[in-house]
């Protein structure tokens, strides 16, 4: 098939994307479950106990994928926001709206598991490490984005105002990270740094990558389900959504 013959904008319409999203959600959910099972089995059963940290290190199989996803989702969300502002596309804004809660969830998981791991490893739940501090600020950025969306009743204004905020935040994330890092090194020599990662056994690395893929696919599946709900809610006055509701009823 000639590339030019594909109508690339077909799926930018919420009505036609609604059906695609269902298939995508199902496919990625089906993929995520065996990946997560394999990753957990490798990580919790097969991987050997760490010589220094004992079994506590196994939390990284949740922690690291969650931390990666929390940052990655913010970037994806900001990218959708940029698309929605420049092309004025409703579906892009709906995608950004659907991504935010999942991103915030992964941020909370990363912070929570980090604290649980920090207690046995560092002897404290919380240290003002550069990564932890910027992760916490990332959570505030997600919450601010969601709060702003929530405070605006008119959906199109909410789309555009929160898109501006997400983009301003995206510009700030690296600045915040480096300023916190700089602040931390100035204030006290960190007793334990996360940056000096120990050489990792390949089985652990495999488990972590499997878990990352599982987290990624889970995120796609959940976002697709959520975007379907958002599409239905916002398009409820259109003919196709009414027909769908009639068919279900």
């Amino acid at each position: 098939m000639h590339l030019g013959s594909i109508n690339w904008f077909k799926f930018a319409s919420p009505a036609s994307f609604f059906a695609v999203a269902e298939r995508l959600a199902r496919a990625f959910a089906v993929l995520a479950i065996p990946l997560a099972a394999a990753g957990l089995w490798l990580g919790l059963v097969v991987a050997p106990t760490d010589a220094q940290q004992g079994d506590a290190y196994r939390i990284i199989f949740i922690h690291v994928p969650a931390a990666w996803m929390s940052m990655f989702i913010y970037l994806v969300m900001a990218a959708w926001c940029a698309v929605s502002l420049t092309l004025n596309a409703r579906l892009s804004a709906m995608m950004a709206q659907a991504l935010a809660p999942t991103g915030a969830l992964f941020t909370v998981i990363a912070l929570w598991t980090g604290a649980l791991w920090g207690r046995p490893a560092w002897g404290t739940y919380w240290a003002w490490d550069a990564r932890m501090t910027s992760e916490l600020i990332l959570l505030f950025l997600y919450l601010g984005y969601m709060a702003l969306r929530h405070a605006i009743d008119e959906p199109r204004r909410a789309d555009r105002a929160s898109a501006v905020l997400a983009l301003v935040g995206a510009v700030n994330v690296p600045i915040i990270y480096f300023s916190v890092k700089w602040w931390n090194t100035l204030h006290q020599g960190a007793t334990v740094t996360l940056t000096a990662a120990p050489k990792m056994a390949s089985i652990m690395l495999t488990a972590m990558l499997l878990m990352t893929l599982a987290a990624w696919f889970y995120a796609i599946a959940v976002v697709m389900i959520r975007v379907r709900a958002i599409i239905l809610e916002r398009e409820r006055r259109t003919g196709w959504a009414g027909a769908l509701a009639g068919a279900v009823r």
């Binding site: 502002l85 600020i137 505030f140 950025l141 919450l143 601010g144 709060a147 702003l148 405070a151 605006i152 199109r156 204004r157 555009r160 105002a161 501006v164 905020l165 983009l167 301003v168 935040g169 510009v171 700030n172 600045i175 915040i176 300023s179 916190v180 700089w182 602040w183 100035l186």
Partner: protein
């Protein structure tokens, strides 16, 4: 002389726009001097409460001083927010401003400059006096005032983005703090860090340079983002 170019007698460039908005907002601010005083009093009282809360131990106060003064300045700059756009939005002036022939980012830059002159500058000028309460002296006072002079305009610029985004919303004030305070983090770190460095006997030039760089970046980006946000709110 064959080409007849019709030109407006008024220059609608960026600089006249900034000057116009600056003059207007300064005049408005100076007509309600009590409002300006309230913000300064807030700053003084918050700073004064800290020694009462943590005790009057001189070494502790000297260690806390830079951070307390900076955090109080951040909070005080949030307090003056409604003046930036909300009043103009409520009576429809903002719509007329957005419709004018001047570029909107320039008009907003003028408003931000006026906001800084009436809130940031008094805070910065007053802060060395308050720093005396915390036992800071000599060079630290100079660095504190210089840092605030470089940092508070950045705060005014960031506040403008948040104020424009939350125009006319029910949860305005608290929501704005949630949106803007995370973005303040770098300014706080380098501002308080500059005083901290000079307290430790180090040169504070690096931190002050970073504050200056942040100011330049924000001065370019923030008026554009605020103008976009104002247009969204007026739609």
């Amino acid at each position: 002389m064959s080409k007849a170019v019709v030109r407006s007698p008024i220059d609608h460039g960026a600089w006249p726009g900034i000057a116009w908005a600056l003059r207007r907002d300064l005049r408005l601010a100076l007509r309600s001097k009590a409002e300006l005083g309230v913000q300064l009093l807030f700053y003084i009282i918050v700073v004064t409460l800290f020694p009462l809360g943590v005790g009057a131990d001189p070494t502790l106060l000297r260690a806390l001083g830079p951070g307390v003064l900076w955090v109080a300045a951040l909070l005080a700059s949030l307090l003056s927010l409604p003046r930036q756009f909300a009043a103009d939005f409520a009576d429809g002036t903002l719509e007329q401003i957005a419709l004018s022939a001047y570029p909107l980012p320039a008009l907003i830059s003028g408003k931000i400059l006026a906001h800084w002159l009436t809130t940031g500058v008094p805070l910065a000028v007053l802060s060395p006096l308050l720093a005396l309460q915390f036992g800071l002296d000599g060079n630290e006072l100079v660095v504190l005032a210089a840092g605030l002079l470089l940092g508070t305009p950045t705060l005014s610029l960031l506040v403008a983005i948040g104020a424009a985004l939350t125009l006319g919303l029910r949860a305005g004030g608290a929501l704005l703090a949630l949106l803007i305070l995370p973005l303040y983090v770098p300014i706080l770190i380098f501002g308080a860090g500059a005083v901290e460095a000079s307290r430790a006997g180090l040169a504070a030039g690096g931190e002050l340079s970073v504050l200056g760089a942040a100011l330049l970046a924000a001065a370019i980006g923030a008026p554009l983002a605020s103008a976009a946000a104002v247009r969204i709110a007026l739609d």
